[in-house]
Subunit: 404 residues, 2 copies
């Protein structure tokens, strides 16, 4: 009997070789490493009985043709990694459905629709200051303006696509008709510790969190740390610290809320000067838009209070926001059933991270299957999901498709 | 009648021309700008009747010979500025006593002792990673090891002294006999807002604050800001912020205590990652050593608590400490009387900053006269003390010397 988990682990190990020199995996879009991954994946797709082509956005597509007019169900994820990332994030969501289809066909289970396995070129947005190019293009939401964005080497996305043998001007034509798009399922490592803590191999995603980012600048007055009495200070770092602790307490006390001050820069940042300026970012995520937006308003109030308390000028700008994407209730239910059939509880959880599914949601109903990862770690060489869990995921995807 | 304040202001303006291109004044030790300042000051010293020489450490010395065996009283400060600093910090303490002596001699007031006006080459420590070279040398505390320290251009202090026409190997010989050293008075802008807030032109320094510096590293774990639940985080910046607000509250509640987190660096410092590491400095100053040391212990306890609360590893090191230097009670009393004779109240305050007086205290009793500066600002182009206040300081120094 085939050990599908072991096969998945072997394949992920082989794909991890398609990387810039380590540590970990570095596979950026439209590079020789990307080409190597395409070559490997194409072979496996063909072995599974899929017809393979590379679309104009660099998405590798493996298609199993169903009855005419039956519509297409999509499965997939991204082939790219962050720099010095792991062997699972993204690419696992390509490897598992290929095996699931192989398993279905081996069991002579006919599918009453067409299936496509998609390996998107770029979800991480590491090389170019844009991301989700392939999934947005399929959903008809591709912005041709991003073609002029350049990487650190000054190469535009347009040039990179051309150098990869693709025709950027044809990207607009790969949008799929939504009436024939039945749905999208993405399998992904959790990138968090919840499944591990709950002793569950698989999780069913309820929604992809909405995100908002705030850029805060606090302006006080620098001065000699020895000569300015405490009562005369306008210390921007003291004000910033009140915001950091305040937003952290808020996020700890509200369900379904995460808030992070990720970046904080102090000026002049020397041992003997009162900090005169701090620039900081605050990122707020929630699967519930109202919760996120309320936290954003609380943050603004907190920042105003801190500025008043410390006699600082305040600039606060919401620099980015993206609403939550609910997973499709019918697909969630079907995925839950499939997961339970593998002996797991079907634990529901939101996705804190953005995925290709966020963009595919503009095309069709979507769902996501989370796979437990060790220590909740991702975007690192140590990223790891156990072969047994990979096997459970293959089985769950098989059930999901068979019952569709 | 001579307007001594206006003359002081004119002289400081002239000296401000001895600077690298602006903004503000940049006059580093053993540079052409230093040479230009020496030439200007030498002329004024000679005009005031002082015998001038440059010692082996680059200190410009103007001496008025008193009765044989009567001992020497020292007045002075440093000629150097920080980069883009002001026209008053340091150099004002050289200009004012020259005028005070000129005023005394014009009034035919004989002095029963010798007087030396000193313009030290380097107090700020901007060019070389050492400072107080000239005052330490006079006090017999010069460390020849610092001669091998280099500036940003790779020039050693030894080489810089040689290039300036000085003999570094003779620095050991300029130590003055302490039995003949009657005392040292340094006039300096306050560099803080206290005199301005109290509507006083002049202040009498009680002590130069002791300083201790702590280097704190908080080690947590970085991770995806979207996927790590709040309860699973080990956020180093949240821990650091607790320390920043805690030490600030402590310093605000304890008399004679100042504490500053001046530098704070976050890693990886990106918008969507939980901060895994923070390195920060804490500087604590007090004129009372016991107060400072208690605050240092409180800081360590605070840091341990923050580390426990946020599940962080903590490294804390006291990287520097320097005890407070009390001003000499007899000189303080005499200076207080002199200041009151100018119509001021003789407001007492500690010096939060270190000065050449800190080093001269190892040679002889010392005192410091603070002059009000606008907005408490120093180390900036906007640094300013009013001519009327400069005039009051000249008069106070005159009284101080005449009554000695």
């Amino acid at each position: 009997m085939t050990d599908w988990g072991a096969r998945a682990a072997e394949r992920l190990k082989a794909l991890a070789e398609a990387s810039e020199p380590g540590p970990g995996v570095t596979r950026l879009p439209y590079t020789p490493q990307h080409r190597a991954a395409i070559d490997i994946l194409s072979g496996w797709m063909k072995d599974a009985g899929l017809a393979v082509h590379l679309d104009a956005a660099g998405t590798l597509v493996g298609r199993l043709e169903g009855p005419e007019g039956s519509g297409t169900f999509y499965l997939g994820s991204h082939q790219d990694s962050v720099r010095h990332g792991g062997a699972f994030d993204g690419i696992m969501g390509v490897v598992l459905p290929i095996l699931a289809i192989e398993k279905l066909l081996a069991g002579h289970v006919p599918l009453p629709f067409s299936v496509e396995v998609l390996a998107f070129a770029d979800e991480e947005g590491v090389r170019f200051p844009t991301a989700l190019v392939g999934s947005r293009a399929l959903a008809g939401r591709f912005d041709p303006g991003v073609l002029e964005m350049t990487d650190n080497g000054g190469i535009s996305l347009r040039q990179a696509l051309c150098d990869f043998g693709l025709n950027p001007d044809a990207i607009g034509e790969i949008a799929r008709p939504s009436q024939a798009a039945l749905g999208y399922l993405e399998a992904h490592i959790e990138q968090g510790p919840v499944l591990e803590e709950e002793d569950q191999a698989l999780g069913v995603v309820t929604a992809i969190c909405g995100i908002e980012r705030h850029q805060i600048t606090l302006l006080g007055e620098t001065g000699h740390a020895g000569t300015i009495p405490m009562g005369s200070r306008r210390d921007a770092l003291v004000g910033a610290s009140k915001i950091v602790t305040g937003i952290n307490e808020l996020a700890n006390s509200v369900t379904d809320l995460r808030a992070t001050v990720g970046a904080l820069d102090v000026h002049p940042n020397v041992v003997n000067a009162v900090p005169g300026q701090v620039r900081m970012t605050v990122e707020i995520r929630s699967p519930i838009d109202a919760t996120r937006e309320a936290a954003g308003r609380d943050l603004a109030a907190m920042a105003r209070n801190a500025a008043v308390q410390c006699s600082l000028a305040l600039e606060i700008e919401r620099s980015y926001s993206q609403p939550a994407q609910a997973c499709d209730p019918a697909l969630v239910k079907r995925l839950d059933t499939a997961v339970r059939q593998t002996g797991q509880q079907g634990l529901k959880l939101p996705s804190g991270a953005t995925h290709d599914a966020s963009a595919m949601a503009d095309l069709c109903p979507m769902a996501m299957l989370f796979v437990r990862c060790r220590g909740g770690l991702s975007h690192r060489p140590e990223e790891y999901a156990a072969p047994e869990d990979l096997g459970r995921a293959v089985t769950a995807i098989t059930h999901f498709l068979a019952q569709y």
